[in-house]
């Protein structure tokens, strides 16, 4: 910067407050990453009694659908495969939002061979549904090979569609968490001008993470902010007996009411002083 001496940027206190909230949220719910995706495909396979399930997400940078995770031994070969966003069954479902179920896929050698070349696995039957919510389509969920003799029916298609909608909400929530952290990093760099000299040399953003940690440490050092203690205590509740959670919830409700009364009281006395 040139010109006037750099005073404290008025944005910094706001960023501090944001950092506090993001860090508190992280402590309360650890970052999910691919764990969310993995649990979705595993639940899908279990729910439909399927041999395998896989999940592909659209990569806006390349415009392709990339298979991220799979459940079931047979499904693993597909992980990492990238296809055009309107190619094949997954591409069709992604592009149109229309769910499909196919069976006897391997019966026709020509179609089966093409599928096998791509994934190393030709399912007998499959359902492909869009990962869609009110915001848009994120990708495609596939259920492969129902165990036993049956093919997938209309009801299976609907259930998979409804389940995929729930899964989309979970994926979108985990993305918001990730995006918030990235956004915060970017803004702190912009305001504090503390970017690493060569960001290409630090593709993982480790230096920026260190920067965030320093910010939070500074907040921690502010001393008696009770937020951290509460956040850590609530985080510990994850392992608590569900029966005790009711009690904790009641206690928290009492705390919130007391805090509300305290704030109102302070506001009234401040008001009185002003007169």
């Amino acid at each position: 910067m040139t010109g006037a001496p750099a005073g404290p940027d008025p944005l910094v206190p706001t960023l501090h407050a944001v950092a506090v909230r993001v860090e508190a949220a992280r402590r309360l719910v650890p970052p999910a990453g691919t764990a969310v995706l993995r649990s979705i495909v595993e639940a899908t396979a279990a729910l439909f009694g399927a041999e395998a399930a896989s999940l592909a997400l659209h990569d806006p940078a390349t415009g392709r659908l990339v298979f991220q995770v799979a459940a079931g031994e047979q499904g693993q070969a597909v992980v990492g495969l990238a296809i055009g966003s309107s190619e094949g069954v997954a591409g069709y479902v992604f592009s149109t939002g229309q769910p499909l179920a196919l069976s006897d896929v391997a019966r026709d050698a020509r179609f089966g061979r093409e599928a096998a070349e791509q994934t190393g696995y030709v399912p007998r039957s499959l359902i492909a549904v869009p990962l869609v919510d009110d915001v848009g389509i994120l990708g495609v969920l596939e259920v492969l090979d129902k165990r036993g003799d049956g093919a997938f029916d209309l009801r299976d298609v609907e259930l998979a569609t409804v389940f995929a909608r729930q899964a989309t909400v979970a994926i979108r929530a985990s993305r918001i968490e990730r995006d918030t952290a990235a956004l915060l990093r970017a803004v702190l760099v912009a305001v504090d001008g503390a970017a690493p000299a060569d960001s290409a040399a630090d593709p993982e953003g480790a230096a920026l993470d260190a920067l965030i940690a320093a910010e939070v440490a500074r907040l921690d050092a502010d001393g008696d902010d009770p937020l951290w203690a509460i956040a850590d205590e609530i985080a510990r509740l994850r392992t608590t007996d569900p029966g005790q959670l009711e009690l904790v919830r009641d206690l928290l409700a009492v705390l919130v009411r007391r805090a509300e009364r305290g704030r109102l009281g302070r506001a009234r006395s401040a008001d009185a002083e002003a007169r």
Binding site: G91, T96, A101, D104, R107, L154, V157, R165
Partner: protein
């Protein structure tokens, strides 16, 4: 069993079909009057989908023209296309239509394959082309969720209706807004659970008015293959094929009247 069917298909389930009963205002309309010889000679049907494989045996040489949508930013253009299908889905629809209406000629409008961000625009542009290029019926086994294109699709559906073009649309499986299948003047179709192309039901309670064969349908697929497929998008072309027969036999019938004839000839529900 009604519990084995999705919401849109539920009215067509065996133990719910009695609810479809209503007055019979068209008693003199039967299938032989409605469909004539069943060939659907000369009717032009557009398939707005993933393309149509022109030399697939199931299409039987009925494909007359193939175009696709090309996007350049916000500008969409129709360009000639090879008779190909990147997925197989459009060929499946064309094969069903040709099987029911062998005299009909098919126009393929490929709207997939463009940049994903423009897919709603590509779809609308393809539909507009079909309406303006002589299609008598347009099969839309896909839909758009783009709220920003609501007005565009509304306008296109009205233009189709006033231009005497019948739009047959697959219903979306979940209750989300999807256009144009939810507009009143289109024929909206879900799958029923009877494995018989000669069975279709009329539901007097919209938005999904017709139930047609869409469960375990043996369909044409890409690379001259065949597969067994399930979905509303395979039910719609069955109604499209029937509508083509009606339009050949009764060339003066408007989209509204074609819909009425299909309702009048629907499978009795007891």
């Amino acid at each position: 069993m009604s519990t084995a069917l999705p919401a849109w298909s539920e009215p067509f389930a065996a133990d719910h079909r009695a609810d479809l009963r209503r007055m019979a205002p068209f008693e003199r309309i039967d299938r032989s009057w409605a469909f004539g010889d069943g060939a659907a000679d000369g009717v032009v049907v557009a398939v707005v989908d993933s393309g149509v494989e022109g030399d697939h045996p199931a299409v039987g040489g009925a494909l007359r023209e193939s175009v696709r949508v090309e996007l350049h930013g916000d500008d969409a253009q129709i360009v000639p296309d090879e008779p190909i299908d990147a997925v197989g889905h459009g060929t499946a629809c064309a094969g069903i239509i040709h099987g029911l209406a062998p005299g009909a000629t098919i126009l393929s409008v490929r709207v997939l394959g463009a940049d994903n961000r423009g897919k709603g625009l590509a779809f609308a542009t393809g539909l507009e082309w079909a309406i303006e290029h002589g299609a008598s019926i347009v099969n839309l086994s896909l839909s758009s969720r783009s709220e920003s294109l609501f007005a565009t699709f509304h306008d296109l559906v009205d233009r189709a209706y006033f231009a005497n073009v019948l739009l047959v649309c697959a219903a979306n499986n979940v209750a989300v807004a999807s256009y144009p299948s939810l507009f009143a003047s289109v024929v909206s179709v879900a799958a029923h659970d009877v494995r018989d192309p000669d069975v279709w039901f009329y539901n007097p309670r919209p938005p999904v008015e017709f139930g047609a064969y869409g469960l375990d349908v043996d369909v044409a697929w890409k690379a001259a293959s065949r597969i067994v497929a399930t979905g509303n998008s395979f039910a719609a072309p069955h109604i499209t094929g029937l509508a083509a027969r009606v339009r050949a036999t009764h060339p003066g019938a408007t989209p509204f009247e074609v819909k009425t004839i299909l309702a009048a000839t629907a499978t009795a529900t007891g």
